[in-house]
């Protein structure tokens, strides 16, 4: 056991002498770092639950017949999977864990602007999760994560209201986080930390928060309307009662398209940090990356109709939405180009976080490009509601958002815990995840293009090969997700001490001790340099000093 003492006075230390005091010091904490850890644990538990549902789905799909689950149970399984992964893992994931931990540290503040609101948001998250899980235990929901009406409002006989209540409450948790981030970034920056000296992670967290505060209330009221309609049998979305089910889809996607950017934008921010740190270069085109986040936040509000090409919206609306969808791909592409340019002539070291970053770039490109396919009305009409769409969004959500999340967790793990994890296992599991991921989801593009619809548990024999491939890949992927849980946990006891700045990176968070002291900065720093102020020749220096055996 490496018991060498971590720096005294860090936020993990407890003065608590009784269990009650210990309990209080964690569950009533207002320290953004402790709240981040609360979120880390709870969000990962939800991730595992969502993964469990995914396992059931993939096992069922190994054979063309429905031998494991009935059609009804299958509906409930993929709905549970979708709801947990979207509402309780991806949307809060990076902002609530990494954002909560890093935003104050990166801008030189002692805490979030509203520490108690921050804690409250965690309780809301847990309450929402409890509702959703209760609904699952008492039979689950079969509407899909999209709650389409009039099925959800009139016909479904599953626990729609309980689940909706969960998503609704969880929405307010994200709103609380979003408000906190916006205010913190506006008002709590250290002297000298101008907007254009902010790390790009802060820019992307800011853009994410804008989306959260503008979009989440809309889905909140929409879900509320569905619940009311269900309870009192009144027909706002039910065509039989004069209502319009398309209105639901408009309101839902007005939130949920921007919500996909809530999931991916923080990931973009993480990747910018990783690429800079492991290329030892300033990020190429800093302003472009910063503004592309803002552009995505704004444009993201204009494209919801691409989810409704076949829902009976007018052809002209479809064409406009198609065109706008092309536009929103531009800022995403700008980021990819700038990261690539940052890598160019960088001193690249293939440490675990960097493996995730590179994996992210490859997978997100595939996910984004297939998004453009889907944005073209003619192609979408062919593949909508097939596994092609399923593959598309898993490439961006798993290949993008989760890869970035894992990369970020590894990169800042030494800062959060004060200890290093096993680099060997880190690299191995990153590769396993990459291989397993592609094996799971690439066949889904093919099978979807061939005509396999999504959300069915039986399928024609000829698709079996591809489905088996996908399920086998999912097994590998699962192993890849489990290994990090093991070595990261072990590192808490056996990890080498990290020191303040194990990656030799720039950024205020690396100037404080690891783990940071409770109030982050003994003295509020004064910032005089831009972000990523690596020496212009840092990369060449590194190359010149390279010896066999030094880190890659």
């Amino acid at each position: 056991m490496a018991t060498t003492a971590l720096p005294g006075h860090n936020y993990l230390q407890d003065d608590a002498s009784t269990v009650g005091a210990w309990f209080k010091s964690w569950f009533l904490t207002v320290d953004h770092k402790r709240i981040a850890l609360l979120y880390l644990l709870s969000i990962n538990v939800f991730f595992l639950l969502g993964g469990l549902a995914a396992t059931v789905i993939r096992v069922e799909l190994i054979t063309p017949q429905g031998d494991l689950l009935s059609a009804d149970l299958y509906n409930r399984a993929f709905t549970l999977h979708g709801i947990i992964m979207v509402f309780f893992f991806l949307i809060p994931g990076t902002p609530a864990v990494l954002g909560n931990f890093l935003v104050p540290l990166m801008i030189g503040a002692r805490d979030m602007a509203f520490p108690r609101l921050n804690l409250f948001s965690w309780y809301l998250y847990m309450a929402g999760g409890l509702f959703a899980l209760t609904a699952a235990i008492f039979g689950g929901v079969d509407t899909g994560w999209t709650f389409y009406t009039p099925f959800s409002s009139t016909y479904a006989n599953s626990n729609v209201i309980l689940t909706i209540a969960g998503a609704f409450i969880m929405g307010f948790s994200s709103i609380a986080t979003g408000v906190n981030f916006i205010v913190t970034i506006h008002t709590m920056r250290a002297p000298g930390m101008t907007w254009f000296r902010l790390p790009l992670f802060i820019w992307s967290s800011y853009a994410t928060s804008l989306i959260i505060v503008l979009a989440t209330p809309v889905v909140g009221i929409t879900l509320l309307l569905v619940a009311i309609e269900r309870i009192w049998g009144v027909g706002i979305f039910d065509p039989a009662l004069g209502g319009d089910p398309l209105l639901f889809q408009h309101l839902f996607w007005f939130y949920s398209h921007p919500a996909v950017y809530i999931m991916i934008l923080p990931g973009f921010g993480v990747i910018s940090e990783l690429i800079a740190a492991f290329s030892r270069k300033r990020v190429f085109g800093y302003e472009f990356i910063a503004f592309s986040s803002m552009a995505i936040a704004l444009l993201g509000f204009l494209v919801w109709g691409h989810h409704m090409f076949v829902s009976g919206q007018s052809v002209y609306a479809g064409l406009v939405f198609s065109f706008l969808t092309m536009l929103v791909a531009i800022p995403s592409a700008i980021k990819i180009f700038n990261w690539t340019a940052t890598l160019y002539k960088g001193s690249i070291s293939y440490r675990t976080p960097m493996l995730y970053a590179l994996g992210f770039m490859g997978l997100f490109v595939i996910g984004g490009l297939t998004g453009i396919f889907l944005g073209i009305v003619a192609i979408d009409i062919h593949v909508t509601d097939t596994y092609f769409v399923v593959a598309h969004f898993h490439y961006v959500m798993v290949g993008g958002a989760i890869m970035a999340y894992l990369g970020g967790i590894h990169y800042w793990w030494p800062k959060m815990t004060g200890r290093m994890y096993s680099e060997v296992w880190g690299g191995i599991s990153a590769l396993i995840i990459f291989v397993g991921f592609n094996m799971t989801f690439f066949p889904q593009f093919v099978v979807g293009y061939l005509g396999m619809p999504r959300r069915y548990h039986v399928y024609p024999e000829e698709f079996q090969v591809l489905h088996v491939l996908s399920s086998a890949g999912a097994t590998i992927l699962a192993i890849g997700f489990i290994i990090p849980i093991i070595y990261l946990t072990l590192s808490l006891w056996t990890g080498k001490e990290a020191g303040n700045n194990p990656w030799d990176a720039t950024g205020l968070e690396w100037q404080v001790s690891s783990p940071p002291p409770t109030h982050n900065f003994l003295e509020i720093p004064v910032v005089t340099t831009e972000a990523y102020a690596y020496a212009p020749d840092a990369a060449e220096q590194d190359a010149a000093n390279w010896r066999p055996g030094s880190p890659l």
């Binding site: 006075h9 230390q13 003065d15 010091s25 503040a109 002692r110 805490d111 979030m112 602007a113 509203f114 520490p115 709103i175 979003g178 408000v179 906190n180 916006i182 205010v183 913190t184 506006h186 008002t187 709590m188 002297p191 505060v213 503008l214 979009a215 989440t216 209330p217 809309v218 909140g220 009221i221 929409t222 509320l224 309307l225 009311i228 009192w232 049998g233 009144v234 027909g235 706002i236 039989a240 009662l241 004069g242 209502g243 319009d244 209105l247 408009h250 309101l251 002291p517 409770t518 109030h519 900065f521 003994l522 003295e523 509020i524």
Partner: protein, 291 residues
């Protein structure tokens, strides 16, 4: 942050209070009794500012800016929340303009108008409370906040009466008083509460002679009343929250927390109250005045 700590030596000019640990460690250790406080942060030197400055802010100005911006951002989320209802409203009014014009006759416009005036006056009293707080007139602040609360309760009372009118019609009574007092019950000729029993009457008073009698659900008429009930009751929930906030503000003013240099709570509470009023200012014409 106890007020008792104000006895500590005046803060130096360094922006971050804790920085003084580095600057004059001996002095701090000599004077502070709180180095082992649960937060683990050293003494603040509260003499430079009031007790309300939270430890993670550097200056009162920063704290005020954060609180105000936070409230504004929150108000944006509120606008978007109601925005969803307004969107639904726009879609259905676009689809069924005649239905809207006809249905609006069945809302109690005189009561709605009175309520609008009540709320606008309450906005005025809140605004006056803010300036009274700035001027340090404590009793005046409390009085104005209480007047605001009275007006808010009056609004909710009238609103509740309007609702009960609709419900008493569904139960077969002409007025809520008869319903409660056990008056004469008659056959239900209208029920404007959305649901299974919804019944839109051919009303002689509207002036629309050929207005159809539409029984049951399945008519766009019910959409109007559905949106009316959802929007106004969501608004009423916000009024309840607003009343709680006003009560809290009056309480802390009475306790002496509010001073001419620290009245941010009154300001941002006032902002919230104004928002509720503005929402009503939109709801009123959109529902009551569209005939």
């Amino acid at each position: 942050m106890r007020r008792g700590r104000e006895a500590h030596p005046p803060a130096s000019r360094i922006p971050h209070p804790a920085a003084r640990i580095l600057v004059s460690k001996e002095k701090i250790l000599a004077t502070t009794t709180t180095t082992t406080s649960p937060h683990g942060h050293a003494d603040h030197g509260h003499a430079a500012h009031g007790p309300e400055l939270q430890h993670h802010f550097c200056t009162p100005a920063q704290q005020k800016e954060a609180a105000t911006l936070g409230m504004w951002v929150f108000l944006v989320t509120e606008v978007m929340l109601f925005g969803g209802i307004f969107m639904a409203y726009a879609v259905y009014r676009w689809a069924f303009p005649e239905v809207w014009a006809e249905a609006a006759y069945h809302l109690n416009t005189p009561l709605g108008t009175i309520n609008t005036v009540v709320l606008l006056v309450s906005s005025l009293t809140v605004a006056l409370a803010v300036s009274a707080a700035e001027a340090g007139k404590r009793t005046r602040v409390i009085q104005l906040l209480l007047v605001t609360m009275v007006l808010g309760v009056a609004f909710l009372g009238l609103k509740a009466y309007e609702y009960s009118e609709k419900f008493s019609h569904c139960a077969g009574y002409s007025t809520p008083a008869q319903w409660v007092g056990g008056g004469e019950q008659h056959a239900v000729y209208e029920c404007l509460v959305p649901g299974q029993a919804f019944l839109f009457p051919a009303d002689k008073t509207t002036g629309v002679s050929n207005a159809p009698t539409v029984a049951g659900q399945g008519t766009p008429y019910q959409l109007f009343f559905f949106l009316y009930f959802v929007a106004t009751s969501l608004h009423a929930v916000h009024m309840l929250i607003g009343l709680t906030i006003m009560g809290y503000l009056a309480f802390i003013t009475w306790r002496g927390v509010i001073t001419p240099t620290y009245f941010t709570p009154i300001e941002i509470g006032g902002l919230y109250w104004h928002l509720i009023d503005i929402v009503w200012v939109f709801l009123f014409p959109l529902f009551y005045l569209v005939h």
